[in-house]
Amino acid sequence: MNNMAGSLMQYNEIYWPWPIALYLFLAGLSAGCLMVSLIVKFNRFTHNTNSIWDATIKAGALISPLAISLGLLLLIIDLGKPLTFYLLLIKYNFTSVMTLGVLFLLVYTPLAFLYALIIFEREIGLYFRFLIPITNSIRKMANFAKMIEYVLFFLALCVGAYTGFLLSAISKIPLWNTPILPLLFVVSAFSCGIAANILVGILFFKAHLNKENIKYLLVLDLRAIMLEIPILLLLFVGMYYSGGESLISLKAIFSHEFYSKLFWFGVLGTGLILPILIALTALKNHAYKPAFIIINSLAVLVGVVMLRFFIVYAGQVCIS
C-alpha cells in the first residue's frame, strides 16, 4: 500500500498500548488471588473455622482489591477522554463485552474490598478504628457473608474470563479472535494468583504461614502451568489450521524479531519452563525451600506479565 497524499499513521497505530496489557495482568492477578484465597479458605478450614487466617488467605485478600484498583486507574488513564469515564457506568450496551466487564467490576471491586475488611478484622481493630462499624456490621451478617464468598468466587471467575472475551471479540486480530483465549487468561490468572499469594504470604505474613498450605498451592500451580502449555499450543495450532489471515498473522508473530523472542524466552522460558524445572529439581518431593519458592513465584508472575504484553502487542502488530 502506498499513500498518494497524506499520512498513513492512523492505520498502523498500537491502539491499546501498555496500560491495557498491564490492566489485563492486574485484573487477572486480582481475580486469581481472590479465587486462590477463597479456595484455601473453603478447602483448608472446613472443620476449624476459628483458626487464625492463613498467610496465603491474607495475601490474596490484600492483593486483590489493590491490584484491581490500580488496574482500573490504568484503564481510565488510557482513555482518550479520561474524565468522561463515568459514562461507562451510566450508559450500557449489552452486546459489548466491555459493558459486561464494567458490570462485573462494579459488583466485584467493592466486594473485594469488603473481603479484605473481613480477613483483616483484627488489624483493623488495632490500626484503622474508623472502619470498625463496617466490620461489625459484616460480623452481624456472618451467615450471609459466607454466601457472598461463593458469589465473589464466581465474580472473580467472570472478571478473569471477561478480559479474555474482551480481546476475543475483535475479529480483525487473529491472535485475539480465538475461543481459547479466555480459557488461557483464566488459567494464567489462576496460576499468577497462586504465585502472588505465596510470594506475599512468605514475605509479609510469615507469622501465619502454614507449610502444608504452601505445598498444596505449589502443586496446584504446577498443574495450572502444565495446563497452560497445551492451551498455548492449541491457540497456535488453531490459528495454523484456520489458514488465511490467521496463518499469515501466526507466521508474522513467530518471525517477528522482538515478539517471537518475547514468547520463547519470556512467556515460555521464564513463565512456564523455569517453574517446572524448579518444581522438578529444587522443590522435588515438595521440599520446603523458601528461597526457591520465591524464585518460582517471581518467575510465574513475570511470565504472566509477559504473556499479557505478548498477546496485546503481537496481536496488534502482526495483522495479516
Binding site: N2, Y15, T84, S96, M98
Partner: protein
Amino acid sequence: MKKFVMIHDENLCIGCEACSVACKNENQIPSGVFRVQVHAKMKGVFPNLQTDFTRASCVMCEDSPCVSVCPTGASFKLANGITLIDENLCVSCKYCILACPYNARFLNPITKAIDKCTFCYPNRVSDGLTPACVSVCPTDALIFGDINDNNSEVNKVLASKSVEYPKAHLGTKPKLGFIKNTKGGRYE
C-alpha cells in the same frame, strides 16, 4: 425509507485525492488524520504492471462490529443505514477502532473522540446534497444515492455493473461497493 449506498468505480478513479481534500475541508478534519483516503496498490511484474486505486473509508456496514462493541452506545446506526458517533457519549476507549475490519476509524486529535466517515449525513445529505467527496470527484468515480429509489443513479449502476463489497465473508453487509479495476490507471 431511504437507504444510502455509495459505489466507487475504480476504473474511473485517477487517484487525485480530491475526495480526501474535500472531506477534510467540509468536515474540518485535523491534519494527519483522514476520514477518506485513496490508496494506490501496484501489482504485477514489470512490464505488466497495474495500479489499483482503492478507497479507504467507512463502508457503513449493516451489521457493524463497531456498534456492537461500543460500551456506551456512542456508535449508533440510523434507519437509513448510516453509522454515526455521538461525540459526547464517546469515552475514546478505542475498542471500535480495533473492532472495525476496514480500519475506517481513528482518534480525532482535537475532539479526542473517535471519528470516521459519516457519508456527510449531518451536514450535507440530510439537506438533500451529495457527500463532499462525491460532489468534487472529477471523473464521477463516486456514485451515491438511495437504493430504495428505483430511478436513482446507484440503482442503474448496480443493475448494469458487477459491484463487489469489501470483506463480504465477514457478513457485515457494507453499503459501500466497489467496481473492481480491470484496466489500471486509465487516465494516467
